[in-house]
Each structure stands twice: as structure tokens, then as C-alpha cells.
Amino acid sequence: MPTVRLRDAGEYPEPIQKLFEVAKAWFKYDFAQPPAMSRVMAWDPELGAFHGRAMKRAMTPGEFSRAEKEMVAAVVSGVNACAY
């Protein structure tokens, strides 16, 4: 159980809700609610913008494909024993 109450998308201001739409497009999946991590990062939009851009820059296909990078991310998450 999360240690904080995750706010529904509708509780965020309008500009942030537009960012949630961008996140939906990134994952190519129609979530009922944006992923918990998206909602956490949106709590501090300034940090979220920097962090999100860095993440997108890292995940964008380059020498490695998006799929290859998703696997790198999964491996790092596994090694960090992160269930999320």
C-alpha cells in the first residue's frame, strides 16, 4: 500500500493533465488512470519536467532500440529489487 494517497488525474491542474496524455502516448496504452509514477512525478512539475525529459532522452531509440532499452530498465529495476 503506498505511503501517500495517489491523486487521480482529475485532481491535477489542467496543464498537468495534458502531460498525462503525453505519457499515455509514450506507453501506447489507454490507462484508466495515469501510471502511479507519472502522478508522483507530476507532484513537482519542475522536477518532473527535468526528470521526464532526461528519461525520454535516454529511452529514445539511438544506438539501442526502445525495446532494448526497456529491457535495460527492467534489469536495473530487478537488480534494485523494485516490484513497481
Binding site: 503506498p2 502511479a36 532499452k69 529491457m71 536495473v76 529495476s77 523494485c82
Partner: protein
């Protein structure tokens, strides 16, 4: 990257990578036999050829006093790092990410060198490092807030059987009460 096969392969690689790193990063220099046996030398030759290098990486030298163990450790390592569903280049990138995440001095330097040897450029190295760093951030944020998985249903389950096996029998529904 569809299906379970690449994920099984990646998980096995994570395990073997960590196994090599823990031995290499521990103060075990004294275990390296000064004159490895002929059997160990044969394995060393295969290791040098696989990595196209003159020396034998530390973790293998440290178990060389037991050639039988060395043979099997190398067999597992070779199997897990050879081209398969995942390419060797991608596997070295995964091993690099594991090594950075676990702060392995040996693994980080060794996998970085292997990635470069296999043709990964500075941009590619930075890509893997960036993903590693960003997800080292996300994972700790998620753990601190004890977030529960909410994206695990995106990928469809792989119905294929185990390698060489047969698919599961279709589940029959018990008759319903009239």
C-alpha cells in the same frame, strides 16, 4: 522483444553477471593458482578466444584451482553471453547496467570494454548509462512511496510451452449447473 524467451535470457544473464562480479570484486587474489593446470589452460584458451583478449578475466582466474568448476562456470557464462534471442552486444549492455547498478568495479570496467569492443559507440554507452541512472532514480522513488505495480498488465502473457515442450492442455470448464 515479444514473448518470454528474451526475458528468461536476460534474467539468466543478470544472475551469471552478478556471480562473476561478486568473485572479481572480493579480495580473493590469493586464490589464483600461480600455475594453472593443463585442463584450466584449455578453458583459459577458450575464454581468451571468446573475448578476443590476451588475458583471462579475473573471476575465471580465481576459480582455476578447480578446473572442473572453472569448466562449468565458463560453460554457463559462454552460453548466457553468446548470441541467442538477444544479441551479444545487447547482452553486454545489460551486464554493464547490472554492474553499474550493483557498483561492481570489475563488472563496470569489463562490460564497458566489451561493449566498445563489440561496436557500441560513446552515444550508445551514454544511452545505457542514462537508462540505468534514470531507472535507479525511479525505482528508489517507487520504493520510498511503496508504489504498487500498475503497468504489469500491458504485455500479454506468452502461451508458448517451455523450450522443447508441449503447449498446456486447454482448460476445460466444469459443466455449469442448469
Amino acid at each position: 522483444m515479444a514473448g518470454d524467451a528474451p526475458w528468461y535470457e536476460a534474467a539468466l544473464l543478470v544472475g551469471v553477471t552478478n556471480a562473476l562480479n561478486v568473485v572479481a570484486d572480493s579480495p580473493l587474489e590469493s586464490l589464483e593458482p600461480p600455475s594453472p593446470s593443463a585442463e584450466a589452460q584449455t578453458v583459459f584458451a577458450d575464454i581468451r578466444a571468446f573475448y578476443d583478449r590476451a588475458d583471462v578475466p579475473v573471476p575465471f582466474r580465481r576459480v582455476a584451482s578447480d578446473p572442473g568448476y572453472l569448466t562449468d562456470l565458463w560453460g554457463a557464462t559462454r552460453r548466457v553471453f553468446a548470441d541467442n534471442t538477444l544479441t551479444r552486444r545487447h547482452k553486454e549492455a545489460l551486464a554493464f547496467a547490472v554492474s553499474v547498478t550493483t557498483r561492481s568495479s570489475f563488472g563496470t570496467a569489463f562490460r564497458l570494454a566489451e561493449m566498445r569492443r563489440l561496436g557500441v559507440g560513446e552515444r550508445g554507452v551514454m544511452e545505457v548509462l542514462g537508462v540505468t541512472q534514470m531507472f535507479s532514480s525511479y525505482t528508489k522513488i517507487a520504493d520510498t512511496l511503496q508504489l504498487e505495480p500498475d503497468m504489469d498488465h500491458i504485455a500479454a502473457a506468452d502461451p508458448s510451452p517451455a523450450p522443447g515442450g508441449t503447449p498446456p492442455a486447454p482448460r476445460t470448464r466444469p459443466p455449469e449447473a442448469p
